[in-house]
Symmetry: C2
Subunit: 371 residues, 2 copies
């Protein structure tokens, strides 16, 4: 294997792939990046037990020149750190599981592994689903925070993505709260996947600066997300994801419309005083025509503040305690200037929706005991 490449291009590609590589791995070869040079492209692969990232560099301009095809595996950390610090033109040559790098007056040799020992990629099967990157990013970012952080029910540590004809839903719940997002899309293909929350960050980065279509396919216990230059394989969580629509209560007793930004600031202040409680208890109640947000702890002190209610329907009597951090996390994913909160009774969950027409998102938060 032998090729020339510009430092900027190679360094960026290595850092894209390096995100999948963990230095703590049981299989030493997985601490490396696999480099494959073919006549028309260079492919870099990095992986850990949960995700695999594949990055392609096409030989289309003067930035890359292949002299000899071949492949090698080199320590991801050492190679990425070194290339970051090299000058503009890099000459790579591999033989006997070693890689020689020449850049101007600098010569280095890095020890590597045989590329034959690197695990092969999962085989892609099933039909392709196509979805705009923007929709995918929005859906996972607005739901992933609600996944379970402990492993008691493994399936709840993932985000449930469902592709149906013309719609795409993303759902996460840790059984105390639920985040739901639905998009109307022109999708081809159907599928239902539970993707680990640890993979969602990488997926969000993958589509962050990409505005095209993402191709989605299943592949031997993995889900495969493909953009123009980068592919991400994420392990799927096995098991049946619960039917969450049954959890949403019916017949609200009180509906409020509030200014989202003012409400966030009030809940944020109240949370300062809620740290002593296991559930960050923040109490919402109605006094006259105002919403009162309050919290307190014996150690620190207490806070009360009164906020304007934009619109109210139903019962005027209201007093409920919820986890202030759960409320903040849900509110921060919303872009609307105003939000609608529905209350169903002091021991029933509250529901947050868009205040305008049919809501594409829904957040449900269970109440907490305040005594």
């Amino acid at each position: 294997m032998e090729f020339m490449i510009t430092q900027g291009l190679f360094s960026k590609a290595l850092s894209d792939v390096n995100r999948a590589v963990s230095s703590r791995t049981l299989l030493p070869i997985l601490s490396g990046i696999k480099i494959v040079a073919e006549a028309d492209r260079i492919t870099l692969i990095g992986s850990n037990s949960d995700i695999i990232i594949e990055r392609t560099i096409s030989v289309t301009d003067e930035k890359v020149k292949i002299h000899k095809t071949g492949s090698v595996v080199v320590s991801a950390k050492y190679l990425a750190d070194l290339v970051k610090k090299l000058p503009e033109q890099i000459h790579i040559k591999a033989d006997n599981n070693q890689i020689h790098i020449q850049a101007g007056p600098i010569s280095t040799r890095l020890n590597g592994f045989s590329a034959d020992e690197y695990p092969s990629l999962p085989l892609i099967d099933g039909e392709s689903i196509h979805i705009p990157a923007e929709e995918l990013k929005d859906a996972v970012k607005t739901t992933v925070f609600a996944t379970a952080k402990n492993e008691t029910r493994p399936v709840l540590t993932g985000v449930n993505l469902t592709f149906a004809e013309n719609s795409f839903t993303s759902v996460a719940t840790d059984s105390q709260r639920l985040a739901f997002k639905k998009s109307d899309i022109r999708s081809s293909g159907e599928g239902n996947f539970v993707v680990p929350n640890s993979s969602i960050d990488e997926l969000a980065k993958l589509v962050n600066h990409y505005s095209g279509m993402v191709e989605i396919q299943s592949a031997e216990g993995y889900i495969h997300f493909k953009t123009d230059e980068i592919s991400l394989y994420s392990r799927l969580i096995a098991g049946h994801y619960p039917n969450t629509t049954a959890l949403i209560p019916a017949e609200e007793k009180t509906t409020l419309v509030l200014c989202r930004e003012t409400f966030i600031k009030g809940i944020d202040r109240a949370c300062l005083f809620a740290g002593e409680w296991k559930n960050n208890n923040v109490t919402l109640s109605i006094y006259g025509d105002k919403l009162c947000i309050s919290s307190g702890s014996s150690e620190m002190g207490n806070i009360q503040e009164y906020q304007e209610i934009k619109y109210i329907a139903g019962e005027q009597e209201l007093r409920i305690s919820v986890d202030g951090h759960f409320l903040l996390e849900a509110l921060k994913t919303i872009n609307d200037a105003e939000i609608k909160i529905k209350f169903f009774g002091p021991m029933k969950p509250i529901v947050i929706e868009s205040s305008e027409g049919k809501s594409s998102y829904l957040h449900l938060i269970s109440p907490v005991r305040s005594f």
Copy 2:
């Protein structure tokens, strides 16, 4: 105690003082900030065992209005976090060791301590030394990195500041390397202090955006640095600081002048390969008319690069190994485009100085065994 203050001013002052406060303290009252309201000023004090920060807010404009003098101690963390999140106008009132804060529609109460129980400030004694903030900042920033990180010889964990008539020197050494900086200043007063490296960061922040004169005084085992609005008291390290001028070898065998930036980049790359060695061994040698920088490890591989020598005097035979990280730390404190390195023999320390005339700084680094 009762006063009105704008949120921005109060929040900035609290965060200045909060830097001295540690949440892990044996004396619970030291987790608080002492607030003293007098007719013409508000004073905030925060402290831990090593440093005390005192911040004064003068009642000169519309931003502060004292209604009633008095004092209280309030949890530093809670108060600073809360004030950050409040709107513009803040009304503070203290009674019975509680502080009441009203800001628009927001009312809060924070538990506090009696101000009488707060330790009193060290009494200032001795004459005043005056030094430009710029000189003080430069001196401590270019030497503090060389202080000892372990406590075997406590006096070496500090920076030695010496004020004499018309000169000021700053020295630090961990006995394997030495950093020295001398300034010609019009100083009034003399003094010799060993300041803990943990206080130097705070001192650097104190004078970072300040361009006036700093007043320095000793105070019962403390050193007191005073600017217009903020005072810093730092504990002094007791003990006799060694005479470091005796460590600097005489009669160099080889002198090189190098481009500092190119040399830093070369050492930085070589350090990547030096991690396996206890002392980050990087080898410098002369090949023909070039300087060769090399390093290697059995695990990772090796690197060699050749750099231009701007000027050479003395013996052309040279091969010495030094700790690459020590070299980098010293080189990064220097602003000059070119530097002079003096070599005294393979087992003698190397010395880095300015390449132009009389040097105001000197860095000494001991060699390491490379076998």
